[in-house]
Amino acid sequence: MPEKAKEKTYRLHLMVCAGTSCVSNHSNEIKTALVKEIKKHNLENEIMIVPTGCNGFCAKGPILVVQPGNVFYQQLAVKDIPYLVEEHFLKGRLVKKFMYTPPKEKTPIPILNDIPFFNQQVLIALRNRGLIDPEKIDDYIARGGYTALAKVLTSMTPVEVIKEITASGLRGRGGGGFPAGVKWETCRHAGEERGEERYVICNADEGDPGAFMDRSIVESDPHSVIEGMIIGAYAIGAHQGYVYIRKEYPLACEKLNIAIGQARQYGLLGENILESNHSFDIEIHRGAGAFVCGESTALMASLEGKAGVPRAKYIHTVEYGLWNRPSCLNNVETWANVPVIINKGAKWFTSIGTGDVTDNPWGGSKGTKVFSLTGKINNTGLIEVPMGITLREIIYNIGGGIEGGKKFKCVQTGGPSGGFLPERLLDLPVDFDSLTDAGSMMGSGGMIVGDEETCMVDMAKYFISFLQEESCGKCIPCREGLRCMLAILERITKGNGKEGDIEALNDLSKLMIQSSLCALGQSAPNPVLTSIKYFPEEYDRHIFDKKCPAGVCTALYEMDIVPELCPGCMVCARNCPAGAIRGEKQKPHVIDKSKCIKCDVCYSLCKFNAIKKS
């Protein structure tokens, strides 16, 4: 190893979030402005700018964290930078106006660790978020990266590695919750028995709407996934790995490519890794963005260059997977957990989470789970929480409650084929089994919150419409079942629902669950079933009263102006695109219902709450 030049010392490190969300909020321009201002003040030898992966608090992007001190600045604009550089970085005065202030409070919180969004999280998969430059392998190594690999290669046999992972109770983070250790063992065994080459695969084909956990891990810490895969390959006896990542994630692909290149340069991928007998390399395969390719057999078919459709799974992929060889598929987050378990031990890992996995790997949910928190919630973003935390703690403590002080209605977990959970289940612990028992599922970690203005029938329709488009069409129950379901839901939301629709939906669901080929069709009815189970009155109002209580289904409500509340400010009349509002100045206005197109412009503009949906 050649000697490196002496490391330069900087007194300040500016950790600029360069995750997809912040980049779309112009964080690259912020970075350019910082470089310019720092140069202007001749501070370039004192201050280092570090582009990091997703910080997590996406609602407040673009984000800048100043180290040392962990000072958190949010929602920065290019015009703010000259002031910030002069005040804080040159003169040492923290700038309060760029800090985070919790809703309903007045005092800003300067330090990241004191912000409720952050201080209740437990970071394992996201351990390096915001602390490293994902394009520098040395940054990852500085944080203890690749020490687990060294430990495994120098002091553990493959069987010992598998035992450790099994004992940790690590279950598949892609949604299935299958114990990783059991999978690895079966795969190793199948390969040894037949004397065949085996493969490890990383599933980065995150297709759920509103979910961005895997993307963020790959973007912010690609080496954690690579290290996990090398360890997995050693345990299973594989020499080739694949990362199946969707093409819609250009930034994640770029970071992963750079990381793989660096790992190869250091000899951490390739022949005889760290002078051991273990040789392994990784290839990236870009998926074309089909939701069904997240399913293991469809993913492997796509990897082989065939059409991405699933097959029946009575033959497991761990035995006959990619090119009919034993293949071990785990998702991004699962792989990212592996190095930490090796370093800190299974015993430590099992101290976090629920249940008991000593004798039964299905006996509990251990460790943490990453969720992307979205919907009608104040603190949208990426979070990692210990298993067993309640939905209420996530939504109110970390998520900061419902946007605009509105009332909570539902939380949807598990992606499009997960389910809706009502307010009375908010104290449900978040783990694999509790969520499944309630009719939803952990899924890969999407969490969408709905408020009083969310229509359950409309939400169910949205997810069924998504799934219907993404169904591969190979098996009839899924292909036709989803079409029938969508037709019924569309009819209901247009005011043409009829007696027997609920029963038809329930029957269709049962049929699809029992007879669909893969998990897509088997779990697709979840949004319909849970919305019927927990919100039956909303279906009844739509079908029998022809009303949408949330005011979402346009055919089922009317706009009205409450005369007592309307001061006649004319704002609604001036902005109505249909010219449906009439009235004189300082006198209550009236909506002409025959002209109203229900665009909600007046509803969102009225400052006096005078416009009602009925």
Binding site: T9, Y10, N70, L90, G92, D138, D139, L268
Partner: protein
């Protein structure tokens, strides 16, 4: 680049940590705070800061927290620095030059002995960190 051995990995880690450990808010043996108000900068605080960075780099010590803060209120005696060795009371130094700060860095920051002839007194105003 040649392939790594297990020992190399450890070497890279130690080397890289010299730059990155400052991000993790670990244990620092001393905190050096340069007062960088307009008055401080006019009196030469920028050069004091540069001299300190040079010292840290040359001595290869990475557990020293170098920070800056605004005017301490005693503008006539700038440039000023507050040195706080872990577990000891903070000490303010006034009317500094690059030479003086070098001595303070060696004797007080690294050696733990207060350089009395440059010191104003013991104690500190409240700082942000």
């Amino acid at each position: 680049m040649a392939k790594l051995k297990v020992e190399d990995l450890e070497k890279i880690r130690e080397q890289a940590r010299k730059t990155t450990s400052i991000r993790e808010g670990g244990e620092f043996r001393a905190k050096v705070n340069v007062h960088m108000g307009t008055c401080g900068i006019a009196a030469g605080a920028r050069n004091i800061m540069k001299a300190l960075l040079k010292e840290i780099e040359e001595k290869g010590v990475h557990d020293i927290l170098l920070t800056n803060s605004g005017c301490a209120g005693l503008c006539s005696q700038e440039p000023m620095v507050t040195v706080e060795v872990a577990g000891q009371a903070p000490v303010k130094y006034v009317n500094l030059t690059e030479k003086k700060i070098q001595k303070i860095f060696e004797k007080h920051v690294l050696g733990g002995k207060i350089v009395k002839e440059y010191a104003l007194g013991i104690g500190s105003e409240k700082t942000d960190y």
